[in-house]
Structures are given as structure tokens and as C-alpha cells.
């Protein structure tokens, strides 16, 4: 770990101002950043502590949900309105990390957690994401947990988060503030594909702060669920996960939202599956056929080829559960 200074801003404006210094990072719960800093993966010279900012509210109303960026994962997961109105979100959060980590970690930090790729997290290896141009040893290495969708010749690292996958089926919108003011961006546009710049992971500009996440209320959000498949029963990142939200009219699917985790270089929406469900009766054969389309364009390795099979089965199981 390198020495750094800690700045404790008194309001959002001074936080953003402090973050205009080079080599600055915000720190929220610190559950990811501190580990990365200890291992010299992140080497900030200044940390701007978000903890003092009054930015941890959870506001639920008839039209939607607004999570302030410092809301704790555990608080959001347990909030009765979330459990009832956005079950996929609560389930995804409860399937994430451990209770101890969820008590510390914030929803803003969660969106920016970095990949678990073991090559990335060890300075003893080359890695295009950490040192652009140094190479990607994972492509021919230990890549069982790596992505099969959105991969490039430069990086195949999985986006490890669960919450963002749930947000992909909820039309979540992030609220950002930077030196030049505020803007909003859809969750689906927030993360970037690695292409030939895997070190640039989101559209966030230097010093820009996430202030909140807005999630509309809907029938589909109420009828939603999250399935996470993993090697051990708890406290593990997804091998594959599936988020589903269905708007049903009796036995017919009016519209469907389906996304997957553990398989993409970013939280991955599955429009091919959604299209095959829209307007169809929620019969076993329909679900089966639709789930079978998941993973269009997948590019697998010998170690992670099973993920494509597993993805389809996980999507099917999630569809069956939510449609039932």
C-alpha cells in the first residue's frame, strides 16, 4: 500500500472539488478499494471519504425507488418496500458477499467494484486492465470464472456484481455529479465493453460522483426474481446468475426483462430471450425455447464453455420461478 491523504469533505460540492486532484479516489464502504490498495492494484494519493456526506437514504414511493449512493447493501436488501416492490433487487443483494460486507458496502461502491480476475488482482502478473498493453494472461490461463459475453482479445474479465444485474431488468438510472454539473445515465449505458481499452470500465468522468440510483415502480419490478448459481452455498461470486422481471397479463407475458451475471464483461441484458417471450403465453415450452436463446454471440474457453449451458438453464429456472 502507498501512503495517501484522507480528505473528509463537508458537502457534495467540496467532495467533487477535492476529487479534481489527480490520483484521487472516493472511498465509501472501502470493502473493495482497501483490498485493492493494500495489494497495490489501486495506488491513490488522495482518498475522499464519502462517509460524512448525508447520502444514505432509501426513498420508496408509488412511482419508484430512489437509493442514495451511500445506502448500505444490507439496508436496501432488508427494506420492506424493496422486498415487496423490487424483489429481484433485494434477492440479488442478499446473494452478494457476506452479511459483514453488506453492512459496510454501499450501492454506489457496488457498481464500481472491480473484477475478481486473479491476474488483475496481483501485480506479479501482466494484465491489460491494470497495465494497458501488458497482455492478458487469462485468455490462455485460469479462466473458469471469466466472461463468455462481451469479451475482446484484450480482456475477458467478468463484471462480478450481482446488484447491477438486477438493476438491468429494472431500468435503473444513475444520478451523477461532476465539476460540470449533474447528469443521468441508464444502468445499461454505465459500464463499457473492454474492447481494446479494458482499463476504462465505465463512462464515469474523472472526479465524477454517483449520488443516487432511481428505479421506477412497475408490474414487472414487482414480479421479479434473482437466481445465483455458485460452487459454495454462500459468500461466493456468481458462476452464473439470472435476473428476470415479467409483466404478465393472466397467463400471457406482456413484456419481459432478462439479464445475466457471471457471464459478461459487463452486466448483461439478454434481448434475444426477452424477444422470444414478449406476447407469448408463459407455457413450459415457451420458456424453454426462450431460455435456449440466451448467450447469443458467446465466446468461450475450454475451462468456461460450461457457462453457456449453465446460463441457459439458469435463465430457464429463473423464468419458471418468476412466471409461476
Amino acid at each position: 500500500m502507498q501512503a495517501f491523504t484522507l480528505t473528509q469533505p463537508s458537502n457534495i460540492q467540496s467532495a467533487v472539488a477535492a476529487a479534481s486532484e489527480p490520483q484521487t479516489k472516493y472511498i465509501a464502504g472501502g470493502t473493495d478499494l482497501l483490498q485493492l490498495a493494500k495489494d497495490d492494484i489501486e495506488t491513490p494519493r488522495q482518498l475522499v471519504d464519502l462517509e460524512p456526506l448525508p447520502m444514505s437514504g432509501i426513498h420508496a414511493g408509488p412511482n419508484g425507488l430512489r437509493l442514495e449512493a451511500l445506502a448500505r447493501m444490507s439496508d436496501v436488501a432488508a427494506h420492506p418496500a424493496v422486498v415487496h416492490g423490487w424483489p429481484v433487487l433485494s434477492q440479488a443483494l442478499l446473494a452478494s458477499a457476506s452479511p459483514q460486507i453488506r453492512n459496510m458496502a454501499t450501492v454506489g461502491g457496488n457498481l464500481l467494484q472491480r473484477t475478481r480476475c486473479g491476474y488483475f488482482r496481483d501485480t506479479g502478473f501482466a494484465c491489460n486492465k491494470r497495465v494497458p498493453g501488458s497482455g492478458c494472461p487469462a485468455i490462455n490461463g485460469e479462466n473458469r470464472m471469466h466472461a463468455i459475453l462481451g469479451v475482446s482479445d484484450h480482456c475477458i474479465a467478468t463484471n462480478p456484481g450481482d446488484m447491477a444485474v438486477a438493476m438491468m431488468v429494472l431500468d435503473a438510472e444513475l444520478e451523477l455529479i461532476g465539476r460540470n454539473g449533474t447528469r443521468k445515465v441508464a444502468i445499461g449505458d454505465f459500464h463499457r465493453l473492454p474492447a481494446d481499452t479494458p482499463h476504462i470500465e465505465t463512462i464515469l468522468r474523472p472526479g465524477e460522483l454517483i449520488t443516487g440510483i432511481a428505479i421506477p415502480a412497475s408490474a414487472a419490478a414487482r414480479r421479479s426474481g434473482y437466481l445465483k448459481v455458485r460452487d459454495r452455498a454462500s459468500f461466493e461470486f456468481a458462476v452464473v446468475s439470472a435476473a428476470v422481471a415479467l409483466d404478465m397479463d393472466g397467463g400471457t407475458i406482456r413484456s419481459a426483462r432478462v439479464a445475466a451475471g457471471g457471464v459478461g464483461t459487463k452486466p448483461w441484458r439478454l434481448p434475444e430471450v426477452e424477444a422470444a417471450l414478449t406476447g407469448k403465453p408463459a407455457r413450459a415450452a415457451t420458456l424453454q425455447e426462450a431460455a435456449g436463446r440466451a448467450g447469443e454471440g458467446a465466446k468461450t474457453t475450454a475451462m468456461n464453455a460450461f457457462k453457456l449451458v449453465l446460463l441457459r438453464r439458469a435463465v430457464l429456472r429463473a423464468l419458471q420461478t418468476v412466471a409461476a
Binding site: M1, A3, D40, G118, R121, G124, F125, E142, F235
Partner: protein, 727 residues
């Protein structure tokens, strides 16, 4: 009431949960500074130079020790232990993650920061990183079992008789590299005073630390003091004295200040051994009635470059003795790689070996269409078939019976995929467990203070297993005084020596000396009594100690009065006798696992578990159960979770943290039923114990793998079994 056998709480429990128990890194040594290791990022080659400019200019830095300036250690031949390096004595790089420098600074943060600023240049050599690619160059170990026996043995003719079998199997099983990952990292504080050094170090063997450091620094053993009152688990990783302990002492000598060196979790993956990867080839043949005709077990285990030492995983020892089979051949081979030196890990040999053996036995039972337990009973060894000796004791049959009854084994339908709960496949699997009973010499000092309280001392360790507690129980029963009047002290090499806490032998080795020391003390108390005026006619042997009184015929005197003349001290040493020549000494057990497998998603969970064990006499039913459920949990990890991943291109480990090196969490562990089959093995040692630290994990992985086969019909011949193996 006798204390031995009671389910007593551990007496150090309160100190541990309140933080009062001091672990090696927690001792406050005045003026201490901090050392941080720098490790290589290539697997083979040599160091051509260091660029220390930036690092040495950083605040607080006191020294950067490299092979260029490190103090010389004496020749490793003076050192009793098996770890020859890396000790910064030369510039060769033999594995990725090897220690190449040590940064010493005033604070931990300064040392860490400077350590990451150390730059070095290498010439790269050719690294061997793939065991499978090197299998053809396997070689026999030179010091197998420290020379106690050859690596290859046979009886009858395994190869010829194999051909005559009605039913046969021939398969290869693979187990991965596993790391111990004890909660407490390796830590040493070293402080010199002239040519005397004191080390507070996390170890399973303070005597080994003492003799290793004495040898390496060329000083007298009496000038090394090793202190370790508590160990935050070791599982074998703290059995040897690994280079970081030596390097802490070397650094302390260099900067002339006490030095503390604590490894990071990540550094522990290349600093203190691991369970080597094994490739095991099994060939078994039986007659149509299930009688075994031939067994062949060829074991290969991965190794470091030979110059670092030697460790061979003794995978096939159980195959020699577990079943009555006339023709058996076993071999052990090493495959040298550019990797760190492997070492003992909980149930070394048996954990990996019995996994393969008991998986193979399950395959045979399936092929023979026999119940797996009936097949074992058909080949039950009444005496040790390899050594041709009676077992000191063996209650394995009772383990099978009691375990099967508790599990409900008779309700099992033999066909794979025949048991379900809705969509979920249910599998029931079984395996035998065994582990040798070991014992080493030990010595104990005892002293009764003037207030009639007793202190015992032995330079043994409590690695979390309950040594403090059970030794106090043994002393209480032998002396006939309450436990709270007794204090058992350990973990200081100034005390009489005890053996390394490994091989499940602490209780078997130390408790006889505790008992003997207590008896010697009682004799001295009685001697003092008969020396009292008016006691002339009494014989010592006729006296009794009761409620604080020494009682003779028509006479009694209180201990308090006797102790007015001063405290009473005694000492005892005990050692194994000829029992090993006469008997084959082993513990046994039966492992039963139920798994639930989601046939679509491939998730495998252990849903029920029963283990029945013959561990000899059980001194404390509660600490014993803790060992049993801990061992079974360790086995669940071996079956389904644990695996160290090595990048084949660079020989560097990819998952050096406990987020990506999976081990079971609570949600993976069902309610475990443990059964202790009563036995008292006085043929093996005076307390009749067998050792239960390693036994409970042996066979667990096989029982689970066999259950996965029963659930899914898929025979997976490697661990950990993953989702994709059963999809």
C-alpha cells in the same frame, strides 16, 4: 468424579474470545521494528541485480536485506528440518513467489510501502510448471518417511493376480494443490541479546524452532528460546520452521533491534508449504464373490526443485493395511516442478490417498453389484495384512454398524439416480477412514506450590485442539485434586521438551508424561509425610491423598502443613516402548454422506453427514467432537471447494486469497452427527488414546464423491467436484 472423558469447555476458551490470549505477533517487544518480504514474480532463473534507490530513500527504512548483503547462515546440514530455503543465501530463483528480499522499517506501513518499491532484474530460466507434462520424469523420493521405510513395497504379486480377477477397475484420480489457510498468519518476533535469541513465533513445534535456528545461526540450542503459547491453527503449515522465522532473526541481527515479520495471506501461499497435487493410479481386481485379489496403488506427488528439501505425499500407506488382500503393490514418486516446497497438511498421505482408494473401492462395489459396506466387510482385515501383526485395537466393524444405523444406510437404493426429492437428486455415499497412531518422547515438570496449587510445564503446543484442557484433566484425575487447582503451561522452549504437534500425537505423547509426573509428585508428597515425626511405621504405598489430606493408617496430615517445608517438585520423561514392534497401531472410522444435486444447475450440497470413529480412549468428549466436526468440514472443503490454481505459463498462483480459494462456509456444512465408538487402546499408550485430529477428515472426500456418483451416475475422479463435472 473422573475428569477424563467429560465434555468440558476448553479452559483457554475465555482468554481466546476476549482477546486475552496472546498470539505470536501480539507480544509487545519494546523497540521492535517491522519486516516485510519481497517475493519473486518469475519461477526460474537468477537475480541479476537490485534497484533499491527509491525504496531505501523512503521514510523509516532501516535495512533492505537481499542475497547481496544477507548475513550468512551456517550450512543447512546442521539443521534438523527439511526446509533448505529460500533464505536469501543465493541468487537462484526456483519458484514464483520466492523470497528475494526483506525490507525492515520503523512501522509496518513504511516497510510495506518500501517493499513494493524494491525493483529487481532477472535472467529467466526454463520453468517446469505442469505436473502432467513432467509425469514421465517422476523419481523415487530419497528420504521417504525420513528413511523409516522404502517408497515402494509389495506382497504377493499384484500384477499377475490382477489378470485373474473376475471384476476389475483401473483408473486415475487427481487431487489438487491445497493450502492450509490457518486463520493466524505466520508471524515471528525475533530479539537478540548478544548471541542469544528469543523468538515469539507461530509454530506447531517450538523444539524444532529451537534446534533449527541454533543450527542456522551456529549457536548453542540453549541460546535459542522459542515462545508460542497459542497457535491460531496450523494444519501442518507450522510444523516445520519455515524461512520467514529464520529471516526475522536474520533481520533482527542486521538492524540490532527486535524485528516482527508477519506474512500476508497472499504470501502464505508460497512461504509455508501446501498439500501437493497428486496423481494416483489404482488397479484393483476381485473374485466374483467380492474377495480382493489384487491392489496396485501408484502415487505421484508434485514437488519443488529438490534443492529446497523433500516432501513426498505418502498416499498409498493405507492401501497396504486397510484390506485383507493377498497381492498388493504400492509406489511413491515425485515430480519436480518450479514450485515452493510442499509439506504436511491435515492427514497428509491419508487425506489424498484414502480419497483415491475409497473411490476405487466404491467403483469395485458397483461393478460387483455389492453393497459398499458388505464389500468392505468381505475383505475386513482382522490383522495387519502387510506387517503381519495384530492391530493394537480395531473397532472398525462397530464404526460401520453404528454409522450405518445412525445414517439409515439400509434404506439406500443401490441404483444411481434412483433417490430424489422432487427435482433434486439425492446420493448416499460411504467410505472408510483410518489414520496411524503415533507417539513420541516427551518430558513434563510439575510443582506443587505452598498453597497446594499445581503447575505443570511441557514445551508442547496447543494448536487449538485443547492441549491445555485435556492435560489438566489428566493431571486432575491422577492427583485427585480439582482442575481449578492445576495450571498446565506450554509453548516455551525453556520448559521440558515435547514433540511437534503433528501426526495427531500430542495427547498420546504428552499425557503419559503428565501422568508420570503427577505420580512422581504424589510419591514425593508421601515421602514427605512419612518423614514426619510419628509417621515412622507407615509405608509410602499405603498412603492416600484425599480432600487436601495425606491419610495413613491411624494418621493424617494436611497438605498445607506438609508444604510449610516448601513447594514440592518432580519431573518425568516418557517414551514409546516396543509396542510398535508388537502391534500395528491405527485409528479407524466410517464416513457417511448425503448430497443433494440440482440436475439442471449442477450445484452440489452436502445435506446430511454421519461419521463414526474409533479414536481409542476419548479424554474430552467436547474437544473431541470439535475435532471431528472440524475434520469433516475440512473434508467437505476437499471434496467440493478447495483448489489452488497455478498459472501454467508463469508458475504463479492465481487465487492467493480466501475469496477466490474457496473453503466451506457455514451454509455448506449440514448438522454433522458424530459417533464415538468406545475403545480403550492400552496396547498403544498408557492413556489408551489414538489421536483424532486427522482421522475425521480421512475418507470424507471419497464418501462425498461416492455420494455424487450415487446421485448423478457420474463418476468424477478428481476433487474438487465442480458444477461442470455433473452438468
Amino acid at each position: 468424579m473422573a475428569m477424563i472423558g467429560q465434555p468440558l469447555d476448553r479452559i483457554d476458551g475465555r482468554a481466546k474470545v476476549t482477546g486475552a490470549a496472546k498470539y505470536a505477533a501480539e507480544f509487545r517487544v519494546p523497540n521492535a521494528v517491522h519486516a516485510v518480504l519481497v517475493q519473486s514474480t518469475i519461477a526460474a532463473g537468477s537475480i541479476t541485480g537490485f534497484d533499491l534507490k527509491e525504496a531505501s530513500d523512503m521514510p523509516g527504512v532501516l535495512a533492505i536485506i537481499t542475497p547481496n548483503n544477507a548475513g550468512k547462515l551456517t550450512h543447512p546440514e546442521n539443521v534438523p528440518q527439511a526446509v533448505a530455503g529460500p533464505l536469501l543465501q543465493n541468487k537462484d530463483i526456483l519458484f514464483n513467489g520466492q523470497h528475494v528480499a526483506l525490507v525492515v522499517a520503523e512501522t509496518l506501513e513504511q516497510a510495506q510501502s518500501a517493499a513494493s518499491a524494491v525493483r529487481l532484474t532477472y535472467t529467466r530460466g526454463e520453468a517446469a510448471t505442469s505436473m502432467d507434462a513432467m509425469l514421465g520424469q517422476a523419481y523415487p523420493p530419497k528420504h521417504f518417511r525420513n528413511g523409516a521405510r522404502p517408497p515402494d513395497t509389495s506382497r504377493g504379486n499384484a500384477d499377475e493376480s490382477f489378470a485373474t480377477g473376475a471384476v476389475k477397475m483401473d483408473a486415475t484420480y487427481v487431487t489438487p494443490i491445497e493450502h492450509h489457510n490457518p486463520m493466524e498468519p505466520h508471524a515471528t518476533i525475533a530479539a537478540w541479546d548478544g548471541d542469544r535469541v528469543t523468538v515469539w513465533t507461530a509454530t506447531q513445534g517450538i523444539s524444532g524452532v529451537q534446534s533449527t535456528l541454533a543450527g542456522q545461526f551456529g549457536i548453542d540450542k540453549a541460546n535459542v528460546r522459542a515462545i508460542c503459547p497459542y497457535v491460531g491453527a496450523g494444519f501442518g503449515s507450522k510444523g516445520n520452521t519455515w524461512p520467514p522465522a529464520t529471516l526475522a532473526a536474520l533481520a533482527a541481527r542486521t538492524v540490532r533491534r527486535p524485528v516482527k515479520l508477519v506474512l500476508s495471506r497472499s504470501q502464505m501461499y508460497t512461504s509455508n508449504g501446501y498439500r501437493p497435487r497428486t496423481v494416483q493410479k489404482l488397479k484393483i481386481a476381485a473374485a466374483a464373490d467380492g474377495a480382493l485379489l489384487s491392489m496396485r496403488h501408484d502415487g505421484f506427488s508434485s514437488m519443488s526443485r529438490p534443492s529446497l528439501g523433500e516432501f513426498a505425499e505418502p498416499v498409498a500407506l493405507a492401501t497396504e493395511m486397510l484390506y485383507a488382500c493377498p497381492n498388493v503393490a504400492v509406489t511413491h514418486r515425485l515430480v519436480a516442478l518450479n514450485a515452493a516446497l510442499p509439506t504436511y497438511m491435515r492427514a497428509p498421505g491419508e487425506a489424498s490417498g484414502v480419497y483415491a482408494l475409497e473411490s476405487a473401492m466404491d467403483e469395485m462395489a458397483v461393478a460387483l453389484k455389492m453393497d459398499p459396506i458388505a464389500f468392505r466387510l468381505k475383505n475386513y482385515a482382522e490383522t495387519d495384512p502387510h506387517e503381519n501383526k495384530p492391530f493394537a485395537s480395531k473397532a472398525l466393524r462397530a464404526c460401520y454398524e453404528q454409522g450405518a444405523r445412525a445414517f439409515g444406510w439400509e434404506k439406500r437404493s443401490a441404483e444411481p439416480r434412483s433417490m430424489r426429492d422432487g427435482n433434486i437428486l439425492i446420493g448416499w455415499g460411504f467410505a472408510t477412514s483410518t489414520y496411524p497412531t503415533n507417539r513420541m518422547p516427551s518430558a513434563v515438570k510439575i510443582r506443587m506450590e505452598k498453597d497446594a496449587r499445581v503447575v505443570l510445564q511441557c514445551g508442547t503446543q496447543d494448536i487449538g485442539t485443547g492441549t491445555y484442557t485435556v492435560m489438566t484433566q489428566v493431571a486432575a484425575d491422577t492427583l485427585g485434586i480439582p482442575m481449578h487447582h492445576i495450571r498446565f503451561e506450554l509453548g516455551d522452549s525453556n520448559m521440558p521438551p515435547g514433540p511437534v504437534s503433528g501426526g495427531s500425537m500430542t495427547v498420546a505423547s504428552v499425557s503419559p508424561s503428565v501422568q508420570a509426573a503427577c505420580r512422581a509428585l504424589l510419591d514425593k508428597i508421601k515421602d514427605r509425610a512419612v518423614a514426619q515425626p510419628g509417621w515412622g511405621g507407615q509405608s509410602r504405598d499405603g498412603l492416600q491423598l484425599r480432600d487436601g489430606q495425606v491419610v495413613g493408617i491411624g494418621q493424617q496430615i494436611s497438605l498445607a502443613t506438609l508444604l510449610e517445608h516448601g513447594p514440592i517438585e518432580a519431573e518425568a520423561k516418557t517414551q514409546p516402548g516396543d509396542e510398535k514392534k508388537e502391534f500395528s497401531m491405527h485409528a479407524f472410522g466410517a464416513q457417511f454422506a448425503e448430497v443433494r444435486v440440482d440436475p439442471d444447475l449442477g450445484e452440489i450440497r452436502v445435506s446430511r453427514y454421519v461419521g463414526a470413529f474409533d479414536g481409542g480412549n476419548i479424554l474430552n468428549a467436547k474437544t473431541a467432537r470439535s475435532q471431528l466436526i472440524g475434520g469433516i468440514t475440512y473434508g467437505i472443503g476437499m471434496a467440493l471447494h478447495e483448489e489452488t490454481l497455478v498459472d501454467q505459463e508463469t508458475g504463479r498462483i492465481v487465487n492467493t486469497n480466501v475469496a477466490e480459494y474457496l473453503m466451506p462456509v457455514n451454509a455448506d456444512v449440514p448438522d454433522i452427527q458424530t459417533i464415538i465408538v468406545p475403545n480403550d487402546d492400552k496396547n498403544s499408550n498408557p492413556l489408551g488414546v489414538k489421536g483424532i485430529g486427522e482421522l475425521p477428515m480421512v475418507g470424507v472426500a471419497a464418501a462425498i464423491a461416492n455420494a455424487v456418483y450415487h446421485a448423478t451416475g457420474v463418476r468424477v475422479r478428481k476433487v474438487p467436484i465442480r458444477i461442470e463435472d455433473v452438468l
